[in-house]
């Protein structure tokens, strides 16, 4: 057996081992580094929360630096307050809230709707509170508050970065690309709404 064949065989064996389903013990996000990082992982791996947060950050950035700054401060704070409220109140809803967030934020971005700075801040508060509330409702327990702090911290870092990216987009086609992404988010929201209604029927 020559070197190349040996290398190929070992490479193949390693690839098979890596791709083998034996390691697929899927579970909720557990980083092993504590509730803060678990919560960060949860946010980054949960499109229901991540996409609306990114959409809001993009929209706020498109509206200018001042609007972006205000909204990006409001979002994590409202998320944290909503989370604390959710973890202390027993409330369950079957409303497709993420679908509504997708639809509203995606629609606003796609239409490039002009909203005053205060309205964008209000939107950030509403989004943060509602999604935080839903997070809080499932994070009840000893590490709930710590986990919520992790989510808020991640939002505080991530949202301004995304917002700054949107703010830096000056060429017309770049803004159009964001609007197209908004239309996709709205379309996903519509589909999610459809799935939610279908599941109820």
């Amino acid at each position: 057996m020559n070197r190349n064949t040996m290398r190929s065989s070992i490479g193949l064996a390693v690839a098979i081992f890596i791709l083998s389903p034996s390691l697929a013990c899927a579970h909720l996000v557990t980083t092993g580094m504590g509730p803060v990082y678990d919560a960060i992982g949860h946010l980054l791996l949960t499109p229901e929360d991540l996409v609306p947060a990114i959409a809001l950050a993009l929209y706020a950035g498109m509206r200018g630096a001042e609007t972006g700054r205000r909204a990006m401060f409001m979002l994590p704070v409202a998320w944290l307050i909503g989370g604390l409220a959710g973890s202390s109140i027993n409330f369950a809803t079957s409303l497709p809230i993420p679908a509504v967030s997708f639809l509203i934020l995606g629609g606003i971005i796609a239409a490039d709707l002009w909203l005053p700075s205060s309205a964008v801040a209000g939107l950030a508060v509403m989004l943060g509170f509602v999604h935080g509330f839903l997070n809080g409702a499932v994070l009840k327990g000893n590490s709930g508050v710590t986990a919520l702090l992790g989510i808020a911290a991640m939002l505080f870092i991530m949202a301004p970065i995304v917002s700054a990216l949107a703010l830096s987009l000056k060429k017309p086609w770049e803004r159009i690309a964001v609007r197209v992404a908004g239309s996709w988010i709205a379309a996903v929201g519509l589909l999610m709404m459809g799935w939610a209604i279908r599941l109820r029927q």
Partner: protein, 200 residues
Amino acid sequence: MNKHILRVIFPVITVLYLLSPEHAFAHVEQGQAIGFLTGFMHPWSGLDHVLAMIAVGIWGAQLGNPAIWLLPLTFPMLMALGAMMGLLGIPLPGIETGIALSDIFLGGVILGEIRLKMLLAMLLVGFFAIFHGYAHGTELPPGQSGMLYSMGFVIGTGCLHIIGIAIGLMHRWPAGRLALRGSGAFITLMGVIFLWRAVG
């Protein structure tokens, strides 16, 4: 151990490893990643859909700004509306016919380089998008995430539009214009075949 034995042992071990059932702890786990991939691949799975979505991008590129982005912006949203109609069980007659007609229409406007008023173009593209969404947006395999399937489906559709736009950028060269019109003729012809199959 000589070289020949090694050559035999490696493939045997590999095959045994692949076939060993004790390692297969496969499960659905709400089908997160699979849901996205299934949705993403779905728009690519039917030639009638692929042609229509690419045609939207080509027509938009032919028409130039703002159609180049307004048409691909309209299509996914109205397609999602069509899928929602399907999910809610709202009846829509002649789905396959509508899809075939969309190919004929879009191929025809590319062939003729027809410039309609922007609103009318958006309305027509949106109208046909409803049929595409109704037919394919609701086909979620059991056990997979509806949301990630939807995301994959919309992004897959968007990618087809982008391919169409990229093809349509040939419009700036005389030979490219001719090639685009040729592609319009091809799409129309395929649409006629799809219509034949739909009504036949």
